[in-house]
């Protein structure tokens, strides 16, 4: 147990002694801020071609779920970089000399990935409120800030970011190549998954499968999301399949993360270090 506490302390210094975490934090805050502010304007203002003013409950939830709609790539990237940086810079050698029990190192890293992921979640949640609520209020829409439904959504945003960081860690530990991890993370989250989710809506069977994509599962967990809402906003989009429940969404994410980490633990982690 003491070894695990030490591993966590060491991992925290490892993360916070580099610039990576705050560069990612700046990108996250900027991305979420622009999305939340823009969306708050889009769903409340009576603009031509827009959806028109939405009911406060729908509008607020969409705005406050900006983090999980657009910025999950940040905790995912963080986790992937945390795992692959040790291979990229060959720092596994001193790491495993300091703690030859590799599982202890892995556990410390898991805990810190979850903590930093949650920290990104908090930053995202605060930013989405700070940027979105004033716009909602300016357009005469209730910000619903005290509502348990909104507070719950923000809390689940934090949970989702923690899980995505874990997912990134597992993916990185599995791939070991930093370049491969970055490319896969960016291409999957920015192109493949959004396209799959939209295209999958064309048939019932694919729409059902698409609910298990990590982004879709996250929208289910959080309870709102921009892509998930497309169907609700536009009734001409066919095949609205009942989304997963919150619990199911959370379980899909957690299972995926655990599988990645477990496979990494019995494969790449046991290899010779060079």
């Amino acid at each position: 147990m003491r070894a695990v506490t030490r591993a966590i302390a060491a991992e925290l210094v490892r993360v916070f002694s580099l610039r990576t975490w705050w560069v990612l934090a700046i990108v996250l805050v900027a991305y979420v801020g622009i999305t939340a502010g823009g969306f708050a304007f889009f769903v409340t203002a009576d603009t031509e071609g827009g959806p028109g003013p939405l009911p406060a409950e729908v509008a607020a939830q969409l705005v406050y779920s900006s983090t999980t709609s657009v910025a999950l790539v940040i905790p995912l990237l963080f986790g992937a970089l945390a795992a692959t940086s040790e291979y990229r810079w060959r720092t596994l050698t001193p790491t495993f000399l300091a703690q030859p029990r590799r599982t202890v190192v892995l556990v410390g890293r898991l805990v810190v990935a979850i903590l930093v992921g949650a920290l990104y979640g908090v930053m995202g949640a605060v930013t989405s409120v700070a940027a979105g609520a004033p716009v909602l209020a300016a357009n005469g829409v209730d910000t619903l800030l005290g509502e348990p439904e909104v507070l719950g959504l923000l809390a689940r945003t934090v949970l989702a970011c923690a899980l995505w960081s874990l997912l990134g860690l597992g993916l990185g530990a599995l791939l070991t190549s930093q370049i491969a991890a970055i490319v896969i993370v960016l291409v999957f989250t920015q192109f493949i998954e959004p396209i799959l989710r939209v295209v999958a809506g064309a048939w019932d069977w694919s729409a059902e499968l698409a609910r298990y994509l990590p982004g879709a599962a996250t929208d289910s967990l959080v309870g709102a999301g921009i892509i998930a809402s497309v169907g609700q906003l536009d009734p001409t989009v066919p095949g609205v399949v009942e989304p997963l429940t919150r619990l199911e969404g959370g379980l899909v994410l957690a299972t995926l993360s655990v599988v990645f980490v477990a496979v990494a633990a019995v494969t790449t982690l046991r290899r010779d270090i060079d």
Binding site: P94, A98, V105, D272
Partner: protein
């Protein structure tokens, strides 16, 4: 004072697929002595050290610290310090933070970070990012990391590589100090002359096999001591030396090379024969040539090495 543990490598073999990197290697590094683990690049030095430190698995055999594998040691960082490469640092992290991470992971006291930075002379550069360090500075940082737990046993892979002349002098004195404190020091190098002034014992490895292990003196003992001598009357000189029991290698021209007598005996023989000498130089077969012969691809025990001593004479 931390006391060292013997490092015991027994019948160690490491194969990567069809390639045998380390082939039935056996040797011991003793406490209070500096053992040089020598061989050309690719001979199997680093692989042996990686297996010893639990970073790679042995195919066969064992590599232990007094019978205990690295990973099985209680608080390994307090028993064994290791520096395996000068490029195991994240360039974006400061030297101090690198040590902080290791200090926290091992549970070593926090004040040791400054203590080791001080000891390797890196305290002023500690807060700069490693990306801006020279190779010599990274070597020192690696050494600081190895010393963090004040271990009795040190394993250093090519610690002298990349140091400037001042740094080489510094590390020689430093390693002698550490050994004098009773520590076991095993250091590898691909250049014997780099460590010849530092090591007590040598273990020479070539193509994965040990070709020689023992005190440094033994390495040169195999070659006969020779003396280079000359006089204006070479014939008289040769006769005097032969009479005194020396063997004169007949040169086509120039000075004579004598075996079987040391410089003192050659001088006395010449004096006895009243032959004035114009040259008298003992030639020690330099270690580097012995080392090269031991580790060359086609070892030929009869091959006479090119002798730098002769050039100097």
């Amino acid at each position: 004072m931390p006391s060292g543990t013997p490092i015991t490598i027994e019948h160690l073999t490491k194969r990567y697929g069809a390639v045998t990197a380390v082939d039935d290697v056996t040797f011991t590094a003793m406490p209070g002595r500096v053992t040089g683990f020598l061989g050309p690049n690719g001979a199997g030095k680093t692989t042996t050290l990686r297996v010893l430190l639990g970073l790679a698995r042995a195919t066969e055999g064992t590599a232990t610290f007094g019978g205990t594998a690295y990973a099985a040691l209680d608080e390994p960082a307090r028993r064994v310090g290791a520096s395996l490469s000068s490029d195991v640092f994240h360039p974006g992290r400061s030297g101090r933070d690198h040590l902080r991470v290791l200090q926290l992971a091992t549970g070593i006291e926090r004040d040791r970070v400054d203590a080791v930075l001080q000891r390797v002379g890196m305290i002023d550069a500690a807060d700069r990012r490693v990306g801006g360090y020279s190779l010599g500075m990274r070597q020192r940082l690696g050494l600081a990391a190895a010393l963090l737990g004040d271990p009795g046993t040190l394993v250093l892979d090519e610690p002298i590589n990349g140091l400037d002349p001042a740094g080489i002098t510094w590390i020689r004195v430093f390693l002698r100090e550490l050994a004098a404190e009773g520590r076991t020091i095993l250091l590898s190098s691909h250049v014997l002359s780099e460590v010849a002034q530092t090591v007590d014992d040598v273990v020479v490895i070539a193509r994965g096999r040990i070709v020689m292990a023992g005190p440094l003196a033994e390495l040169s003992a195999g070659t006969a001591a020779r003396v280079r001598v000359d006089a204006s009357d070479r014939a008289a000189l040769a006769a005097a030396i032969t009479a005194a029991g020396g063997v004169v290698e007949t040169p086509s021209a120039g000075a004579l090379t004598v075996t079987g007598l040391d410089a003192d005996a050659v001088g006395r023989a010449a004096l006895g024969a009243r032959v004035p000498l114009t040259l008298l130089t003992p030639i020690s077969d330099d270690l580097e040539s012995v080392f090269l012969r031991l580790t060359s691809d086609h070892p030929d025990p009869d091959a006479r090495p090119v002798n730098s001593g002769e050039v100097a004479a």
